[in-house]
Symmetry: C2
Subunit: 190 residues, 2 copies
DNA sequence: ACTTTAGATCAACATTTGTTGATGTAAATA
DNA sequence: TATTTACATCAACAAATGTTGATCTAAAGT
């Protein structure tokens, strides 16, 4: 099922969706990029929404699995936080167009799927929150509101997908990772 | 020209655009909200894009003017940075749906207008960058990459519009402002 | 040799969407 | 009183958009 052409179809689709938005990308746009007829696309997915659907929940799962592994590990709160930002930076560098879906295009999921997505997102935000809360409790971090702190930390990295997707920018992801960690850790640190 | 009905039209339009995206919001959606006919909307704007256009460049100007005033003031780099985050938080609290346009909907501007918007955005990002660069130079801030630092600082607040637009969340903007400043200043501080 | 499979083609469709023109009305303004 | 102003209504259209069905081809698997 994962043929070259099919992979190319998803790749081009996600790039277009990143740049033009989900609603702003038509099946005809995608077909033009692939130099084929529109009808052809329905050999790969049974509807436009399936492009979003499949790609979004796939990257979402990958991210959640990573978070879970970190949460269950035996690190200090600060150590866990470092690993979380590391995970986020790496995943974003690897798959900027997929992350773009998590940031922007999730709004266009069907009602049911959107509800599912939001529930999952809330769940992992709470996991990160608990790490920060623990950090505050053991005196490793300063007493900011954990919800607010979580939003700041995650949001502080949310520009990366745009930058990595851009041809012109060529950040070294390891260096980015280091500086983000420095910012976040001393931003929350006592 | 700024009648009640006209103001209501823009208000409802921006709320819909925030929740459904620009392309996802139809003129008929807006008309339904206003309980009037579609054709009626063209008494207020001459095209759909004008809704985006007018609202986006209006909030953009407001923000840029604020930034400029801060840049020209006689504060230390850290002082200026505090004022910048303060400005951002206040403006976002006042006008979350307008800020939403700056974050998301600008992509759907016409080619010409988009170019103009991006040029302006780059210009003010560079202004913030120079503040941070200055902070590094005088030893007030740690030596992170100024581009990266700027992105992190601005991005760290980019979740706020979503939160302020949401009925359920009721952050106290002054407290939010304080905590964001604490995070950002100690995140960049030496 | 037979059949499945991945992909391509072409014509056609029902809806959705932005937009227009012609017209009406009630209140404010002159 | 005459007229401008703000807003409303109705019918209609051209273009864009997601989707389908029927058919074809060439390669891969059996």
């Amino acid at each position: 099922m994962a043929t070259d052409r099919r992979l190319q179809f998803f790749e081009e689709s996600l790039q277009l969706i990143h740049h033009q938005g989900y609603k702003g990308t038509t099946m005809r746009d995608i077909a033009t990029k692939l130099k084929c007829d529109v009808a052809n696309l329905y050999n790969f997915v049974k509807s436009k929404e399936e492009i979003l659907d499949i790609s979004l929940f796939s990257i979402n799962e990958e991210f959640h699995d990573g978070i879970d592994a970190i949460i269950e590990s035996k690190h200090t709160p600060v150590g866990k936080l470092r690993l979380i930002t590391q995970l986020y930076v790496r995943l974003t560098h690897e798959k900027p167009y997929e992350i773009s879906l998590l940031v922007n295009s999730w709004r266009h999921l069907s009602h049911k799927k959107k509800k599912k997505f939001l529930a999952e997102r809330t769940a992992y935000e709470q996991k990160v929150q608990r790490v920060i809360q623990e950090g505050v409790d053991v005196g490793e971090m300063k007493a900011l509101d954990p919800v607010l702190a979580t939003n700041m930390v995650l949001s502080a990295m949310r520009w990366l997908f745009d930058s990595f997707a851009d041809q012109k920018s060529d950040w070294n992801p390891v260096e980015v990772e280091r500086q983000i960690n420095e910012f976040v850790v001393s931003g929350l640190g006592v």
